[in-house]
Amino acid sequence: MAQQQLDHLIKSEYAAGFTTDIESDTLPPGLDEEVVAFISAKKNEPDWLRDWRLKAYRGWRKMAEPAWAHVRYPKIDFDAVSYYSSPKAMADRPKSLDEVDPELLATYEKLGIPLHEQEALAGVAVDAVFDSVSVATTFRHKLAEAGVIFCPISEAVQEYPELVQKYLGSVVPQHDNFYAALNSAVFSDGSFVYIPKGVRCPMELSTYFRINEAKTGQFERTLIIADEGSHVSYLEGCTAPMRDENQLHAAVVELVALDNAEIKYSTVQNWYPGDAEGKGGIYNFVTKRGVAHHNAHISWTQVETGSAVTWKYPSVILRGDNSIGEFYSVALTNNYQQADTGTKMIHIGKNTRSTIISKGISAGRSSNAYRGLVRMSPRSTGSRNYTQCDSLLIGDRCGAHTYPYIESRNPSAVVEHEATTSKVSDDQLYLCQQRGIDTEKAVSMIVNGFCKEVFKELPMEFAVEAGKLLEVSLEGSVG
C-alpha cells in the first residue's frame, strides 16, 4: 500500500465538523445531589421522578467504572463535566418550525437532514435533539391521528406521566451499570414513543442527535413502547462537531415490545471520532436494551463509524414465548478509534429466536472488538441462536477482536457461533485496478460487499447514507 496515498486520504476532514454559534444556558461542571435536583426542577418534574433520579445518583456514587472492555482512555473526571445545557433561544419553546432558530435549522441542513424537505418528501417525522432539549417535532398531528405519541421525553413526563412512570427504568434499571446509573440521574432529554394496540405506525420515526456545546455531556434517554400487536420503525442518527477535547455521551434507550408487537430500531452513528492523531472525539458509553414479550420482535440495526471510544451492546431480553431478537451491526474504526461493541441475547421464553450478524472493519491503528452474550436460560426450551461475526482488517497496525460469551442451560436450545477474519487483499485490489477501478473505489466496493447483509436491514434512505458514511470514514485507510 502506497504511503503517500494513505497520508492523503487520512487528511480528509470530518464532514460534519462545524459548530453552531448559539448562546447556551449551561450549568457549571460538577455533579452532586443539588445538580440532580436542579435538573429535575428545571424540567419541572414531579417528585417521583426527582426521587428516582436521586436514587440513581446515590447508587452511581458507589459504583465503579467498568474496566473489562477492550478499550483504553484516560480516566474521566466526572466532576469536570457539565450536566445541563439548553440553547438560550429555547427559553420560550418554538410553537412551530418557523420559530426555530434559523441557525439551528441551517445546522441540520449541513447535516443533510432538511426538516422541511423531509416533511414533504421522505414522510419522516423528526424529533431533533439539539444538545439536550428537543427543539422541533414534526408530523405530530399526523401521528396523533393514528394515536401515536412521539415527543420529547421531558414533555411525556408532563403529559403522559403514568406511561413514563410505568416503563421508565423497566428495561434498564437505574443501577444496571455505571453509565446507565449516571444517565438515570442526569438525563437531559430524548424521545418518547408510544404506539397504541394494533397500530402500525404510519411513518418511520427519526431523531438526529447532536452534541454541540463544548464540555457538555449528552445524556439522552429514549423510551419506546409498542403496545400489543403494534409496529414501529425508529431511526436514530447522530453526529457531533469537531473538538479537541473528548466529550462524554452516555445514553440509555429502552424498548418495550408487548405481545405481538414489533420494534425496528436503526442507528447510524457518526459522532466525531477524533483526529488522525487520536485527539478529541466522543466517548460513547451507551446502554440500549429491549424487552420482547410473547411473539414480539425487536430488531437492532446499527452502523457505527464514529466516536473515539465506543462501549455499546444493544440487547434483547426474549422474555415471551416465540419472541424474536435480532442484531445487525457494522462497526468501522479507523485511525485511533476504539470500539467494544456487540449485543446480548437473553433467551427466557420458549421457542425464542435470535440472530446476530456483526461486521467489524478495522483500519489505521484502531481497535475493534465484538463482545456478545447469548444466554439460554433453563426455561428457554426449543430456542435458537445463530451468530456470525466477521472482521475485516485493513492495514497491519489495527486490531480486530471477538469475544462471544455463550451460556446455555437448556438441552433443547441450539446455539451456533461462527467467526472469521479476512483482509482486503492485494490480489483483490490488483484485480480491481487492472479493470480500471481506483484503489479507493475498490476498497469501498469490497467493504460494502462485506457489509451487505447488514445494509439490507436498514431502511432505504439510511442504507444509502450508511454506504457513503463508510466511504468517508475509510478515507485514508488504504493506499
Binding site: D396, G399, H401, Y403, P404, R409, H417, T421, K423
Partner: protein, 434 residues
C-alpha cells in the same frame, strides 16, 4: 480459598533438593503478591474455587507402599512404553518400568546431579511463568520433585514415555505439586503421555500439575494429557508449550469430570513455521465441573494452529471452555482455527463457552466456531428407521460425537484404550443420556 493458599505456603515441601529453594521462595513471593481469583476475575468467571475450601488440602502427601494392583487404573493394552509412576507425588520405582533408549536424558528433580540441576534451572518456569497464574506460582513454591526429560538432538524415540500421576486417599487431605519439564532438542521426535488417575476410592487430593514443553527447531511431539481420576480428586494445572521454528506439537486432552478440574493450555508459537494440533474431549455428569482454558499465542509469522474441543455435559454438571487465539502484530500468514462443540443432555446441565480471537495482523486466516446443541434429529431418525431404539441411538450418536476425535489419535492403542472407557461412560450410565 485464601486460607488454603496461606496454609499451603506455610508448609514448605519436605525432602526437596536444596537447589529448588530459590524457586520455592520466588513462588511464595509471587503467590502472595497476586490477587486471588474471584467470580469477577475474567479468567475465573464461570469456575468457583469453593471446593478448595471444603477440606484442608494443605496437607503433605506421605509415601505409599505401591501395589501392583494399582496398574489396572492406568495400564494400556498393547501400548509398550517407558513408564514412570508417581503415587501421591512420590516416585514409585516398583511400578515404573521400561528401559530408556540412547539419546534421552530422564531424571527426577530429586535425583538430579549438579549438571542436571543446572540444565533444569535453565528451563524451569521459562514456559510456565509464575506470573501467569497464582496456581503456577503455588506449584513452584511447593515443588518437591518433578521430571526432567530431554530428548537430544535428532533422536527419534520409538517407544512412548508415559508418566502416571496416581492418587490414593490418605488420612489427611493433601496437595500434590507436580511438574514435568520436557525439552525436545532440534530435530527430535517423541510421544509423551501424562495420565492422571486414581484408585476407585473417594479421593481427598488436590493436584496442582504443571507441564512445560519446549520444542526446539523441527522437533515433533505427540502429547497426551488424560484426566480420569475419581470424581473427588481436584485438579488445577495445565500445559504450557513453546514451539521454535518448524516444530510440531500434536496434543490430545481428555477430562472425565470431577468436582473441580481446571486445565490451562498455552501454546506459544515462537518460531516461524511452527504448527500445533490441539484436541480435547470432556465428559461430565453428576455435579461435576470441568474448565478448559486454552490459548494459542501466534507471536511470529507463518505458524498454524488447529484446535478442536468437544464435550458432553449431563445431569447437573457444568462445563467451561475458553479458547483464545492471539495473533500478535507482524505474525503475518498465520492460519488458525478453533472449533468447540457441546452436547447438553440434561435440563440441569450447563455449558459456558467463549472462543476468543484477538488479532493484530491483517494477512491472516482465522476462524472459530462454537455450538451448543442436542443430538441431531435427522441422524437420530435415520438410526431409528434401521430399527435401533431411540435410547440406544442417542448413546451411539453421543459416542460418535466424541469418537470423531478419538479417530484422529495417532496411537491406535491409546484410542482403543479410551473407546471402551468412554463408551461405558455413556451406556453404563443410562441417566447420563436422557
Amino acid at each position: 480459598m485464601a486460607d488454603y493458599i496461606e496454609q499451603a505456603l506455610q508448609r514448605p515441601p519436605a525432602n526437596a533438593p536444596r537447589w529448588l529453594d530459590l524457586f520455592h521462595q520466588q513462588g511464595r513471593r509471587s503467590c502472595r503478591e497476586k490477587a486471588l481469583p474471584t467470580g469477577k476475575t475474567e479468567d475465573w468467571k464461570y469456575t468457583s474455587l469453593r471446593a478448595l475450601g471444603q477440606r484442608d488440602y494443605a496437607g503433605q502427601p506421605a509415601p505409599v507402599a505401591a501395589s501392583g494392583d494399582l496398574q489396572r487404573h492406568y495400564r494400556i493394552a498393547d501400548f509398550s512404553s517407558h513408564t514412570l509412576v508417581f503415587v501421591n507425588g512420590h516416585f514409585s520405582p516398583a511400578l515404573s518400568a521400561g528401559s530408556l533408549p540412547a539419546g534421552v536424558e530422564l531424571v527426577r528433580f530429586g535425583e538430579a546431579d549438579a549438571g542436571q540441576a543446572e540444565r533444569i534451572q535453565n528451563w524451569l518456569g521459562k514456559v510456565a511463568s509464575r506470573e501467569q497464574s497464582v496456581f503456577t506460582a503455588l506449584n513452584e513454591s511447593g515443588l518437591a520433585d518433578g521430571i526432567y526429560l530431554r530428548v537430544t538432538k535428532n533422536t527419534r524415540l520409538e517407544t512412548p514415555i508415559q508418566v502416571i500421576w496416581l492418587t490414593t486417599p490418605q488420612s489427611e487431605a493433601f496437595t500434590v505439586s507436580q511438574r514435568l519439564l520436557l525439552v525436545m532438542e532440534p530435530g527430535s521426535d517423541a510421544t509423551v503421555m501424562e495420565y492422571f488417575t486414581s484408585d476407585a476410592a473417594e479421593q481427598n487430593s488436590f493436584t496442582n500439575g504443571i507441564t512445560e514443553l519446549v520444542l526446539e527447531q523441527n522437533a515433533r511431539l505427540r502429547h497426551y494429557r488424560l484426566h480420569a481420576e475419581q470424581e473427588q480428586a481436584l485438579h488445577i494445572g495445565g500445559v504450557h508449550a513453546s514451539l521454535e521454528r518448524d516444530a510440531n506439537l500434536d496434543s490430545f486432552h481428555l477430562a472425565v469430570g470431577g468436582t473441580l478440574k481446571r486445565i490451562d493450555i498455552t501454546v506459544n508459537h515462537n518460531g516461524p513455521g511452527a504448527h500445533c494440533n490441539l484436541q480435547g474431549v470432556y465428559l461430565l455428569r453428576n455435579r461435576q465441573h470441568v474448565d478448559y482454558h486454552t490459548c494459542i499465542e501466534h507471536r511470529v509469522p507463518r505458524c498454524t494452529s488447529d484446535e478442536v474441543f468437544r464435550g458432553i455435559i449431563g445431569d447437573a454438571a457444568r462445563a467451561v471452555f475458553n479458547g483464545r487465539i492471539h495473533i500478535h502484530p507482524d505474525a503475518q500468514k498465520t492460519l488458525a482455527q478453533l472449533s468447540n462443540k457441546n452436547l447438553l443432555t440434561s435440563d440441569a446441565a450447563e455449558v459456558d463457552t467463549k472462543p476468543e480471537l484477538e488479532i493484530y495482523a491483517d494477512d491472516v486466516q482465522c476462524a472459530h466456531g462454537a455450538t451448543v446443541a442436542q443430538l441431531d434429529e435427522t441422524s437420530l431418525h435415520y438410526l431409528r428407521t434401521r430399527g435401533i431404539a431411540a435410547d440406544e441411538a442417542k448413546v451411539m450418536l453421543s459416542f460418535g460425537f466424541i469418537n470423531e476425535l478419538l479417530n484422529r489419535i495417532p496411537d491406535a492403542a491409546v484410542a482403543a484404550h479410551l473407546r471402551p472407557m468412554l463408551s461405558q461412560f455413556f451406556s453404563g450410565e443410562q441417566h447420563f443420556v436422557r
